[in-house]
Amino acid sequence: MIAPLSRFTLPQRGLHWLMAACILAMLFIGVAMVSTVKPAHLTLVSLHKPLGIAILILAVLRIAVRLVSRAPGLPADLPAPMKLAASLSHYLLYALMIAMPLIGWGMVSAGGYPVVLLGGVRLPAILPQSDLLHAALWSAHQVLALAFFAVILLHVAAALFHGLIRRDGVFASMAP
C-alpha cells in the first residue's frame, strides 16, 4: 500500500493553477506576437509585458510560500531516476518563471525602449542600453521560451502519468 500523500496547501494549489494559465497564455502570446505584422501584434505585445511582470511577482510569492509551506514528499516507491527528474524539472520551472520576465525586462531596457505597461505605467530600465546585452538577452529569451514550453509539456505528461498510470497520489496533491 502506498501511504496517502498529503496535498499542497490551498494557496500553493491556487498559485500553481493561476500561474499555469498565465504562463501558457504568455508563451502562446509570445510566439504569436513575433509571427504577425497585423494590428494584433501591438495588442499582443501590450499584453505580454504586464503579464510577464505579473508572472514575476507571482513566482516570487510562490517561492516564498513554497519555502514556508514545504511540499508533500514523492512516493517512496518512485524509481530514483524519476525522483531526480521530478526534482530537476521543478527547479528548472521555478528558475524559468523568475528568469524569463527578468530577461525580457532586461532585453527591453538594453534595447533602449521605454518599459511601458498597459495604462501607461512606466517601469525603470534595469540595464543600460547596450547592443551586446540586447542581442544576448534576445537570444536567451527566445531559446528559453521554447525550453520553457518543452519543460511544461514534460511536466504535463509526467502529471498525467502519475494521475492515470501510477495513480500514486502525486497528481491529486496538486489537483485543484
Binding site: 500500500m1 508563451l27 502562446f28 510566439v31 504569436a32 506576437m33 513575433v34 509571427s35 504577425t36 505584422v37 497585423k38 494590428p39 494584433a40 501584434h41 501591438l42 505585445v45 534595447g111 533602449g112 525602449y113 521605454p114 501607461g120 512606466r122 542600453q129 547592443d131 551586446l132 540586447h134 542581442a135 534576445w138 537570444s139 514550453f149 509539456l153 504535463v156 505528461a157 498525467l160 502519468f161 492515470l164 498510470i165 495513480r167
Partner: protein, 351 residues
Amino acid sequence: MPNPLAPRSTLGSLVLIAAVVGTTAAAFAYTAGWLSPNRLTPARFVAAFAPPGGPASGHRRNHAKGVCFTGFFEANGAGAALSKATVFTRGRYPVVGRFNLGTADPTVVDATVRVRGIGVQIKTPDGQEWRTAMIDAPFFPVATPQAFYALLVASAKKNDPAAMKDFAAAHPEIGNFGAWAKSAPFTESYAEERYNSLNSFVFTDPAGNDHVVRWSLIPAAQVVTLSAEELGKRAPNFLEDEIAQRVAGGPLHWAMAVTLAEPGDPTADPSKAWPEGRRTVEVGTLTADKVIAEPDGPCRDINYDPTILPTGIRTSDDPFPAARSAVYAVSFDRRTAEEGDYPHTAQEKQK
C-alpha cells in the same frame, strides 16, 4: 489495490497523454506560424528588404544610410488642445534624430535614392517618449502592409518585367507614387525636405475627445531644387556632408504641423492624401543643432518604432504602424546581434 478510479488500460492512458501533449504542441506550433509557411511574418518582411547580395550586416534593414542629429522640440502650446501628451505643453524637450535614405544599402550614392526620411525621438521630463519616422513622399506607395510586401517581392524580380506590371494592375494606387517619384524635384539638403508621418494616429485631448491626425515637419530653410544633371555631379555622400556643414553655420528648423481628419477621410490608407484645406495646427518647432556621424552617434542604437508614443497619442485604424513596429523590431534584433560588423569609429572601419 482498491482504486476509486475506473480501471483503464495503461496503453489507453499513454495514448491519452500523448494526445494531450501532442495537441498542445501542435496548437503552439500553429500559433507560432511554423505550420503556415505563407504567413506574412516580420522575418519574411525583413527578408524582402534585402538586396540580392544579402543585407548589410550591422545596419538597419531599410533606411540603412543615415546620419544622427541632436536638438530639441519646442512646443508652442497649441497642440495641448488636441492631445494631452506632455510633449505639447509649452516647453523645450530634447531630441535625438536621424536623417536617412530609403535604401537597404548603407554605402549607396545619395543622389540615386528617391525617398529621404527623418527619425525623431522626443523625450519629456515625465519619462514619456515619442518616436516617429517620417519620409518626404506626400503619400505611401501602397494601401496595406501586405501590398507593400508584394511590392518588395515584385520589384526584386528584375528579370521579370511582368512582375511589376501585374503588381500595378492589382494595386493601382502605386500610380500616384510612381508619378511623384518621376516628377518631384530633388532638393539639395536634408534641411530642405518636408517630412510626413503618412500614417494616421489618434490624439486624445484633455476632455477625452479623440482626433485622428497626421503630422508633417515643414522646413524653415529655403528649398533649392537640383536638376538631374546637378544632382549627378554631387559627391556620393553629399547629403551627410552638406547637413554637417550647414548645421555648423547655425541650427536648422522645421515647423511641426498636425492635420486633423474629417469624417470620411481615409485614415486607414496612407497611400491616399487627405483633401486640401483640412484644419492644420502648428504645434511647435523641431530644431537640429548638432550633426553626428552614425557609427558612434546617439541615433545608431535607437529603433525609431512609430508605436512608441506618449500617453495622449495612440495608433489609429491605419495598419502600418503595427506592421512597422513588428518589422523594425526584427531589424533591430538582427543588427544589434551583428554590432561587430558595423564598427563604432572610422578608424576601425578601415581595418
